[in-house]
Symmetry: C2
């Protein structure tokens, strides 16, 4: 298969490395000359600079993988779909963390596009092609959000895309875009914001730089994801704003309630811990 990965950050570059191993013909684009050289040295010579890219390059490509932030994905799809030949021949997938916005955009503006929304749950706090790993998708969950459509071709494309993700080691799960985005607020997007608020608050208790750090494993783990890319998360959060706002308000209310219960002296933290463990086990499937 001939694949073009437009935007080779952590996920795009990791996917390209794995596809190359599997014998596919892989090309792609990156933002900087440094990234281009780095990926060339890792066995991906067909990488060009984003500035040199034109959608015409995609003619003859079977699959376009968008490795861009969501706000860059939308114009990238628009540009590709402006070329009649590509509307017919090119299957397009994205890897964004939210699905409603991009699926809506395609349904509204490119109803004939062979687009399938996908979301590999493989993010890390490390970024860029330097952190790429051909095994990144091994056993990771990839959500696939099929378009609401009566097109047989799109059903076949969806099946092909699911098989594609399984071929690089992932487990796939089809889900509606709305359900997906709501779930993500509860297991990922909200958590990133909470980690940031908690980390920012902790600055008040940092203490003197001359003393040992008060951070133990719990602090390190709970605030690790606050080190993610703010620009990427700005995009993610704004494209899942409604669910994230709902989650934040729920956390605010539960946090306040717990404070009141603790103040009253009638706290039962034991049941909070056991309820939390039960819910976590359900989410983790353990």
């Amino acid at each position: 298969m001939k694949v073009f990965v437009q935007g080779m950050g952590l996920m795009g570059a990791s996917l390209a490395l794995r596809l190359k191993e599997l014998g596919h013909e892989v090309a792609g684009s990156v933002r900087s000359e440094g990234s281009r050289k780095l990926l060339k040295s890792r066995g991906l010579p067909e990488v060009i600079l984003a500035g040199e890219f034109a959608p015409e390059h995609l003619i003859g490509t079977d699959l376009l993988v968008l490795g861009l932030n969501i706000s860059d994905c939308l114009p990238a799809i628009d540009a590709a779909m402006a070329i009649p030949e590509l509307r017919e021949s090119l299957v397009v997938i994205d890897m964004c963390s939210t699905k409603q916005q991009i699926c809506d955009h395609v349904a509204q503006h490119h109803p004939q596009a062979r687009f399938v929304g996908t979301h590999p749950m493989a993010g890390k706090e490390t970024q860029g092609p330097g952190a790429a790993d051909a095994l990144l998708f091994e056993n990771c969950t990839v959500y696939i959000t099929p378009a609401v459509s009566n097109s047989d071709r799109l059903i076949q494309d969806t099946a092909m895309v699911a098989e594609f993700w399984r071929s690089v080691g992932a487990r796939t799960c089809t889900i509606g875009a709305l359900d997906h985005d709501r779930t993500m607020a509860y297991v990922s997007h909200g958590l990133h914001l909470a980690a940031c608020l908690i980390a920012r608050m902790s600055g008040e208790a940092a203490g003197s730089p001359d003393t040992p750090s008060p951070a133990a494993g719990s602090y390190r783990d709970m605030t690790r994801i606050a080190m993610s890319s703010g620009a990427m998360w700005q995009d993610i959060v704004m494209s899942n704003r409604e669910n994230v706002v709902h989650w934040l308000k729920q956390l605010s209310s539960e946090t306040n309630l717990l404070a009141e219960v603790l103040e009253s002296g009638k706290a039962d933290i034991v049941s909070l811990f056991s309820d939390a463990a039960t819910a976590r086990a359900r989410v983790m499937r353990t």
Copy 2:
């Protein structure tokens, strides 16, 4: 040195194993016969059951290490200090996560006690002597809260206790009990409760048990500490209630504020992420 570790859970048993390696004479008490056998098999034959323990056993011991929850520490100190000989000869330390309550108790009821409050930042979500590791305290921070006292002997005891912790690999830091407890709310106690609330909320989005888990690394890390012992945390939180309540209210308010900013559409998550990273670096000393 002759050491008795009263309460050999994760921390107590880990410390006992290390002290044995260093050539000290180590005895201690555990709650169950299973734990007693386990520790015997790991080279600690002098372990008795808590039910067989009497404070008279401590006569001739140089250092009593309390490995109990804070609510059990207070009566344990009372019992030991009821024996005049021990008031003279026995240095007592605890390992509780809060320091104000226990230091206040000793200052009020046992002003002559040779007690030094200590808090090794070495907790884990695993519990019990089965998880014990002689290297648990390697490079961990141990807070030491000296009593407010004009006793030369207590000053010497404090220095001895600091040296004791450094001998098992820890870095020590003296701090006032109030400062300690406030700091802990911001880097540990509040975080444990937030992790529980977030994990409990996530149950709403767990999805079907037949589908792959929606949990990625961020979820696993952020909710890991929700798996800690609820009983232990009930104790910790209630003994640091004022600071924890303050922290929870602050998080509630910041979470609500962020929700409002996101709703208004004028969100700047980028600066939230950069402020969080800066604060985290200060806390981590990186």
